[in-house]
């Protein structure tokens, strides 16, 4: 009877340990083995199984603290540990809901004010395009700053880049039809997204694990945003179909709903990632698993095609932007796939496929660079060419490093950890590059 009792006690303990989200089945096996060892030793020393169990459990330590420790180590399994303190689940989701929607509503109102001031969509002043990131993203930053309980210093450090960016891009004397201004409109949201990393990580920007969390967050935010956008598209389509017969033009409704929806969804998607991420948690690895091989094949084909035909004739601005977009997507996929991977696992076929994708991207990048340098040699530097050249160089270094480390990892020469470090260590380079395009490039080209 005592043996049975002991077994049921162990089973109960095991179930409790296993309920911690960051502790997986093998960890529980390992802990249970430890517990059984300890009990066996104590009973050999003369204790009853019951007493042995109590002492062994006590020695194992506080299970909450233990599961926190596991969560810290396996943040990939439970990266929301950073988000959730220890408060009660229901209380959190209730208040979190209100908080998120307050910030989303504020963003939605802000964009409407800006839109009315700009007279969009009848009028499309360039200041509106240039400032769009500054109108929406501060609300996301504030949401995280509040959510992470940043202190005054944290708030100041979060707000400072926004203030600086607002100052810089509105003080610069832009020419009419300025290329640099359009580049700023593209690069500023990217820069500000990296700024949001600061409140998102609760100020701990040096931590490589937290940086990986931010990568993961970004990937899942994109997924949620696309889902919301799709739903919004269906809603607008149906609204139009219903209102058209009544003589109401859907465009006039859309002018109000679409900007507000798009701005509010920025915060709502972030909140969804934070709170409802279990759904995506299972979806994300599947998506990367599905698309990494497809992109690898596509890249391999593209590389072969362009290697045969040459990039020279077809190379124009449009193809360049398509190729650059492709490279960014591949890098994002690789990064995101990396963040969804268990770091201690040994190489699998997926890592091989990733290497194919990286190698393809690398080859394409080299070809683009070659064509671009030739073009710059013929026609000289323009803001667009300079920015594109810089971006391709930044990508080239990243991809080359990733490829080199991937090869070493696949051959068992290095740990996955190094690969992860390379990418998380490289994130500031992207941020810096985007910030350079915003701040320095217009100065260099005289705001033309």
């Amino acid at each position: 009877v005592t043996v049975q009792e002991l077994e049921s006690q162990i089973a109960e303990w095991r179930a409790y340990v296993a309920s911690a989200p960051a502790v997986d089945g093998q960890d529980v096996d390992e802990l249970e083995d430890h517990l059984r060892h300890q009990i066996a030793e104590l009973t050999e020393a003369g204790l009853t199984p019951d007493e042995g169990f109590l002492i062994a459990v006590k020695r194992m330590g506080d299970l909450d603290a233990l599961s926190r420790e596991f969560a810290r180590e396996h943040s990939g399994r439970l990266w929301k540990q950073l988000v959730l303190a220890t408060d009660d689940e229901t209380a959190r989701s209730a208040s979190g809901w209100i908080e998120a929607f307050a910030f989303a509503a504020a963003a939605a109102v802000a964009i409407q004010v800006a839109r009315l001031a700009a007279g969009f969509p009848d009028d499309e002043p360039t200041w509106f395009a240039r400032n769009i990131g500054l109108i929406v993203l501060p609300f996301l930053a504030a949401y995280f700053a509040r959510h992470r309980h940043l202190d005054l210093r944290g708030w100041v450090l979060t707000a400072a880049p926004f203030a600086l960016a607002a100052l810089v891009i509105n003080v610069y004397p832009w020419d009419a039809d300025s290329d640099t201004e359009m580049l700023v409109a593209l690069a500023l949201p990217v820069t500000l997204w990296f700024v949001i990393a600061f409140p998102y990580m609760g100020g701990t920007v040096k931590s490589h694990e937290r940086r990986m969390d931010f990568v993961r967050f970004t990937g899942e935010w994109v997924i949620y945003y696309v889902l919301i956008a799709l739903g919004g598209g269906v809603l607008m389509g149906l609204t139009g179909a219903i209102l058209e017969p009544a003589g109401i033009e859907v465009d006039r409704v859309a002018a109000w709903v679409v900007p507000s929806g798009a701005a509010g969804a920025v915060v709502v998607a972030a909140w969804l990632v934070e709170s409802k991420q279990r759904v995506v948690e299972n979806m994300a690895p599947v998506l990367t698993m599905l698309f990494t091989p497809l992109f690898a094949v596509m890249l391999a084909c593209a590389t072969v095609v362009y290697a045969v035909t040459g990039l020279g004739d077809a190379f124009d601005r449009e193809l360049l932007s398509v190729l650059d977009a492709l490279l960014v997507v591949v890098l994002a996929l690789v990064l995101y796939g990396m963040s969804a991977r268990e770091p201690s696992a040994s190489p699998t076929w997926m890592d091989g496929i990733q290497l194919v994708a990286i190698a393809g991207a690398l080859a394409l990048d080299l070809m683009v660079l070659g064509a671009m340098i030739a073009r710059i040699g013929d026609l000289g530097f323009t803001p667009n060419r300079t920015a594109a050249l810089g971006m391709n160089l930044v990508l080239l270094v990243n991809l080359a490093g990733a490829a080199w480390l991937s090869v070493r990892f696949l051959r068992g020469r290095t740990r996955f950890h190094r690969l992860e470090r390379w990418q998380t260590g490289y994130l500031p380079v992207f941020a810096l590059f985007a910030a350079t395009v915003v701040v320095v490039l217009p100065l260099v080209f005289g705001f033309s």
């Binding site: 096996d29 430890h34 020695r59 330590g61 299970l63 603290a65 420790e69 180590e73 290095t414 740990r415």
Partner: protein, 119 residues
Amino acid sequence: VHIDKDLVAASATPLVLAILADDESYGYAILKRVRALSGGELQWTDGMLYPLLHRLRRLGYVTTEWRSPPEGRRRQYYKITDDGRAALADQQRQWSAVTRALNDVWPGSRGLLTAVREA
């Protein structure tokens, strides 16, 4: 002697690496060895050993392997790598620098002994 929590935490990594440098081992055996080495003065919470071991694995300092002995339960064995040995050597240098400094500044028995010997 009660050893401060931070000190226990700081010494955990070199201790585990040193034990694994002797021979590969598994969780419970590592913990027993720690207890024996410190005469029970290093108070570890048993469970905390595992997140630590997993961290060492992620850093590439140890490799792991599940083995099922013919009788009994399957068990995860930890084995030190070359990176792990390098990390251990580095830790050893750091700790001996710290103990040397403390010995010099404290008029303890060993600090005195060296002083006597030098005189």
